[in-house]
């Protein structure tokens, strides 16, 4: 019973992701987020943080994994509330449209 419900949830998420990609909504959301983040200075803040990290580690020893591990938490925290709200609103609208079908 529990397994089947978990299974059903996973199925549902996969279906929603499929729908996002199929309709192109995911690309649109990604582009919107990118523009908003550049606009609000998120990218510049993160870049400054990157410089510190790279100087610490030394230019030759930088790997993508290191960067992702260092940057992603900071990046998540630095997203402004307004951007977050707008993006969530669009996702909800999308879900409501496709749940009612």
């Amino acid at each position: 019973m529990v397994v089947s419900k978990m299974n059903k949830d996973a199925q549902m998420r996969a279906a929603i992701n499929q729908k996002l990609i199929e309709t192109g909504e995911r690309e649109r959301l990604k582009e919107l987020l990118r523009a908003k983040l550049i606009e609000c200075g998120w990218k510049d803040q993160l870049k400054a943080h990157c410089k510190e990290v790279i100087k610490e580690k030394g230019l030759e020893h930088v790997t993508v994994d290191d960067l992702v591990a260092e940057i992603t938490p900071k990046g998540r925290a630095l997203v402004p509330d307004s951007v977050k709200k707008e993006l969530l609103q669009r996702i909800r609208t999308f879900l409501a449209q496709h749940a009612s079908l």
Binding site: M12, R26, L46, G75, L87, L101
Partner: protein, 373 residues
């Protein structure tokens, strides 16, 4: 597929919210990942720190935010008080007005070039330079044509006659110059001798500014001595457009011998004629009585030093008789056309005295002539 969507619609709001948060986190992670790739590539390619500068030099390029200054810290309206010095008149003019001033001052454009030309011509007259005396560059002008002479003469005499009598020095003179498309010159120079003015070249001249300003001399400013010396060396015909005397040589192609003669008669009296007289002899109306009278006058004037013979020209006194004769006949011809030609000059009055009485008895010789004798 159908079943999945049915189950999707059956989800409650909390589930939907959780899914939305998940999608959002996914998107942010995507962006972070993309950024990480970007930075990593920049680091490995070596252009990540290219836009870095040390803080000292960054201070030099800080953006200034103060009232009255632009972002570079400069005063931005300082050009308003700039002034330029005109190279021509050496006045200082505001920079924004400098170009219009220069245009007027240097004489660019239509009207201002005329103004400038006139100014130059005036200053040349002060110097009375005679360097252009032999200037014959107008010889090819189409304006000059022999055929138009008779017609022009007739038109001129038709019109001139009704102009009011005026003092040559009266201020009204300049006003009357403007009407009757150039025929009114007689009022400016003389009321007594309409033939004084050129009838062939000047009348058909359509461009009044072509040559007159630079070559003319205003005869009003000259004294009798200057006038005489000028008339013995130069053409001297008074242009009807500029009221200036022609400063070219005695053989200048712009004017005829007859015009030169009438000018000399007007200024110097009937004894002063051109040294060479050849063109006007074909006049049919040669009056022996008139020529006799003139010859007797000529003998009386024999000692006059204003004869053109002292000008160094080739022809001398034996031509004077002929010159006077043709002169008088010419004037008489004009007189016959207009019986009320009462203001004719010296020789005309002389020639016509037996036919009718002039209304204001014009003196046979102008005052200059009297002084000389």
């Amino acid at each position: 597929m159908k079943m999945e969507e049915m189950s999707l619609s059956g989800l409650d709001n909390s589930k939907l919210e959780a899914i939305a948060q998940e999608i959002y986190a996914d998107l942010v992670e995507d962006s972070c990942l993309g950024f990480c790739f970007e930075v990593h590539r920049a680091v490995k390619c070596g252009y990540f720190f290219l836009d870095d500068t040390d803080p000292d030099s960054m201070k030099d390029f800080e953006i200034v935010d103060q009232p009255g200054l632009d972002i570079f810290g400069q005063v931005f309206n300082q050009w308003k008080s700039k002034e330029c010095v005109c190279p021509n008149c050496s006045r200082s003019i505001a920079a924004s007005r400098f170009a219009p001033h220069l245009e007027k001052c240097l004489g660019m454009g239509r009207n201002s070039s005329r103004i400038a030309n006139r100014r130059i011509a005036n200053s040349n007259n002060m110097n009375k330079s005679e360097s252009d005396q032999e200037d014959n560059d107008d010889i090819n002008d189409n304006d000059w044509s022999y055929g138009s002479e008779k017609k022009a003469k007739k038109r001129k005499s038709d019109k001139l006659w009704y102009l009011p009598f005026q003092n040559p020095n009266s201020p009204r003179r300049s006003k009357s110059l403007k009407h009757k498309n150039g025929f009114s010159v007689c009022t400016s120079a003389s009321n007594t001798l309409p033939l004084l003015f050129s009838s062939s070249g000047e009348l058909s001249n359509s461009d009044p500014f072509k040559y007159s300003h630079s070559t003319g001399i205003s005869y009003e400013t000259l004294g009798p001595e200057e006038l005489r010396s000028l008339l013995t060396t130069q053409c001297g015909v008074i242009s009807e457009h500029t009221k200036k005397m022609c400063t070219r040589s005695l053989r200048c192609p712009q004017h005829t011998d007859e015009q030169r003669r009438t000018v000399r008669i007007y200024f110097l009296g009937p004894s002063a004629v051109l040294p060479e007289v050849d063109s006007a002899l074909d006049d049919g109306g040669f009056d022996m009585a008139d020529s006799q009278a003139l010859l007797s006058r000529l003998q009386w004037d024999g000692s006059s030093d204003l004869s053109p013979s002292d000008s160094g020209s080739s022809k001398t006194s034996e031509n004077q008789g002929w010159g006077l004769g043709t002169n008088s006949s010419e004037s008489r011809k004009t007189k016959k056309k207009k019986s009320h030609l009462s203001l004719v000059g010296a020789t005309s009055a002389l020639g016509s005295s037996k036919k009718k009485k002039p209304k204001p008895p014009a003196p046979p010789t102008p005052s200059i002539y009297d002084d000389i004798n």
